[in-house]
Symmetry: C2
Subunit: 114 residues, 2 copies
């Protein structure tokens, strides 16, 4: 499994917050989601992503970017646009997408215990 936390630089940078309710059944979702995550990671300005989903199919994915311009470039990617169209047709019953500028960040990691 890839790391769950994104290693982001010092702010400012941008976050795309995507919260979504999945429909039932796979319908090609898992393979497409993995392909999109890999494609996103190769785009200019991509800084990382964090993603989780519960057993009820409610998920939140936050991807981090260096600029609004690179978020827009990724939105214009044709494979990504096709995946979004299929998302609305099949995979999601509802989603909210918010683009935000990260201004401050903190973190915590517990000391390792052996």
């Amino acid at each position: 499994m890839s790391p769950r936390f994104a290693s982001t630089p010092k702010p400012p940078y941008y976050a795309v917050i995507f919260s979504a309710q999945r429909t039932g059944g796979d319908n090609g979702y898992d393979a497409a989601a993995q392909a999109m995550a890999e494609l996103a990671a190769r785009q200019p300005g991509y800084l990382g992503a964090e993603s989780t989903r519960d057993a009820a199919g409610f998920g939140i994915t936050v991807s981090y970017w260096d600029s609004e311009e690179n978020i827009r470039n990724w939105k214009r990617n044709l494979d990504h646009a096709a995946a979004r169209q299929q998302g609305r047709a099949q995979w999601y019953s509802h989603y909210e997408l918010r683009v935000a500028k990260v201004e401050r960040a903190y973190n915590f990691a517990a000391p390792e215990t052996d």
Copy 2:
């Protein structure tokens, strides 16, 4: 269950993005998390929250606020500060917290099918 999606106003507003890895065991977490969610919802400037966690204990909670000042006020709440301290001592092995200004938002809801 309360609604999974936050009904947020037109941007701009603020998001606190909290991604965290839970430790094993409850240790009072579930009750404290519910109490904190209810307390947050009564604070001035609170707009809503979205939260999910997978079976591996990796969760993302995004809370939405009308201003940075009200985020700071909530941070200064003494019960909240005590909960954060217990979070670092017991409940989380790692977390990342980012404060971001939401600049644009979109959503999608599938047509109801009966």
